[in-house]
């Protein structure tokens, strides 16, 4: 589904990612962990197509297409979804209006008919219940004045409505209390399927207790320095990142 080869990325001429290789197959859940400043969020932004990130080397292939050729909007149409670490507030635009515009834009790109208002509202209510989201939030301005937990639930709701092929969760667990974390996890787990993949970016093992990954990668200083199965997370939780960084340093010498 997603194949990243030797990806190098710079921001303002400063190299941030230095040769990432990552393959995600359909149905897999991958987690990328790593210390602050390792380039985790850069990876998510590059995948979504944010301006200001220059790919200096390497390739990204998504569903058989060169992802870097696509505009952010077309990437979304192709089934790529990014749950933002800091969801953007848009005063005046109601959540329901926004969601409907998004759902219809994606449907239109797929050559499908626009969803009827009745079906849409039914679906939204159902999905909101799944992530324990206050029904009133749908009529508020998009993320405007939402609490941290409400914003992340809203990101999850959007994911549930858009049903992407690949969902990237950028630090979705940061700043969440345990109830919100469980709601978000419930939403994500309900979407897990044979033909849908997830890439979770996180600091902590906590999220991984709720959404069990198939693979874990450790990103440090712009490279993946270790990959393994879910047991790696527990090891990291116990020992921290220090031993891995040391191990890598030793190898280099």
């Amino acid at each position: 589904m997603l194949t990243i080869k030797d990806l190098h990325v710079s921001v303002d001429n400063k190299a941030i990612l230095k040769g990432i290789n990552l393959t995600i197959k359909a149905g897999e859940v991958h987690a990328i962990m790593g210390p602050n400043g390792s380039g985790k969020s850069t990876l998510s932004k590059v995948l979504a197509g944010r301006d200001g990130y220059t790919i200096t080397r390497g390739t990204i292939e998504f569903m058989g297409q060169d992802l870097t050729e696509l505009e952010p909007c077309d990437r979304a149409h192709a089934g790529l979804f990014l749950a933002f670490q800091y969801p953007v507030e848009i005063p005046g635009v109601s959540n329901v209006q926004f969601l409907k515009a998004a759902v219809n834009a994606v449907r239109k790109a797929k050559g499908e008919e626009e969803i009827s208002s009745v079906d849409f509202l039914k679906l939204v209510r159902e999905k909101m219940a799944l992530v324990d989201m206050d029904q009133d939030l749908i009529y508020r301005s998009l993320n405007d004045g939402f609490s941290g937990g409400e914003k992340k639930r809203n990101e999850t709701l959007q994911m549930l409505m858009l049903e992407p092929t690949l969902a990237i969760l950028d630090e979705t667990d940061s700043g969440l209390d345990i109830d919100a974390l469980q709601s978000v996890a419930k939403g994500v787990n309900s979407l897990r399927s044979q033909d849908r993949s997830f890439l979770m970016i996180t600091h902590y093992q906590r999220l991984l207790n709720h959404i069990e990954p198939d693979f874990i990668h450790v990103l440090a200083r712009g490279e993946i320095i270790k990959s393994g199965d879910k047991s790696l997370a527990q090891e990291l939780e116990a020992k921290g990142y220090g031993w891995l960084l040391q191990e890598q340093a030793d190898e280099c010498e």
Partner: protein
Amino acid sequence: MTKRSEKVETADPIEEFLAQDYEHGFVTDIETDALPPGLSEEVVRFISAKKNEPEFLLEWRLKAYRHWLTLEEPKWAHVNYPKIDFNAISYYSAPKSKTDGPKSLDEVDPELLKTYEKLGIPLREQKRLAGVVAVDVVFDSVSIATTFRETLKEAGVIFCSFAEAVQDYPELVEAHLGSVVSYRDNFYAALNAAVFSDGSFCYIPEGVRCPMELSTYFRINAANTGQFERTLIIAEPGSYVSYLEGCTAPMRDENQLHAAVVELIAKEKAEIKYSTVQNWYPGDKDGKGGIYNFVTKRGDCRGDHSKISWTQIETGSAVTWKYPSVILRGDHSVGEFYSVALTNNYQQADTGTKMIHMGKHTKSTIISKGISAGHSQNAYRGLVRVAAKADNARNFTQCDSLLVGSKCGAHTFPYLEARNKTAKLEHEATTSKIGEDQLFYLAQRGISADDAVSLIVNGFCKEVLNELPMEFAVEAQKLLGINLEGSVG
């Protein structure tokens, strides 16, 4: 002067006109239905005679003309345009010159046609709006207009062209004309009073709630009323009317200068709701061409507990200069102003309102939303004045600006004058910019840049759009999106 007036009473006014010496030596054939460019007392007399106007109206026009001669063009607005040569304008041409217009839609600016398509305007209507000559005048709306007149007649409502009103209800016109906007009011009001061509007249009798929204769109004979339109709406005690002006499709027009006057009179417990969608030709992407829209609109809450509400969506014209105002004369009267002014490319708008509190316990609300894109300049200018005797007057003003891109400008000029200590005036203002973060977020959800801008702008204007009648609101929303296409990304 007196001599001439005497003659008018006895002779055919047109003959009378023809019999005069041409001061400026112009020669015109009365049959041609058009005057050569230039403005003089003779021109004013010609227009009045052509319309077979009663004496009082001719006198009024002449007084206005003479006053206009003493005035200078106002310079205080935050707009820039080349000096207008008022002697280069033809002040009478009805119907509009047929030779200048495009012969077919092939000759019309393709950008304009694209817009019509997006708005879903039928072909025949497109031709009319684009000014294509020789369009058959049988519109579907003719029948609507007729049925519509019947219904209004039953309710006792008068809704006709200004020229018809002058012939059929001269006493109503004489009693109210100029009583809200005097010809002495300003340069363009004086000019309009002297040479106004036609417009709309509306009279709602006491206690009548007008059974439908009145719209100039359906009144075919309002078409081609040209540059100097004049509207007069009179709401007798306890009556209600909602009036819609304009059309959401951009109108191609040969006339560069538009100087209209609108007067609203609300008597005791009467309510007038006046909505405008103005989408005159704004000029091309480089700021070439376009309409100058210099309008004086004012409502007089003459009776106690009366209410006047202005809602405007201004998206067209190269230069807009417009301040729909309310004089809150009656005690407990209410004035409202809801405005969206959108400027793109090289458009300039200086618009706002005046709320003049004179009665006790009067209340006004101003909600202004300015959107600037491209290289445009958008200014809000508003005056709230509380007279010494206006106890317990209240005003709430909210003035928001939204910037799209970094080459445009937004300006706010609020003026507050309170001469009564009990006045409560609130003013809130914000300026925001459509951020890259917002556009990226929406793009990541599959929403294109144009749709994203449209979504954000419509969200920004929601409070004003909500004031529009339903059908109009939907069209206005589309219109805002279309006018901002390509402004980002």
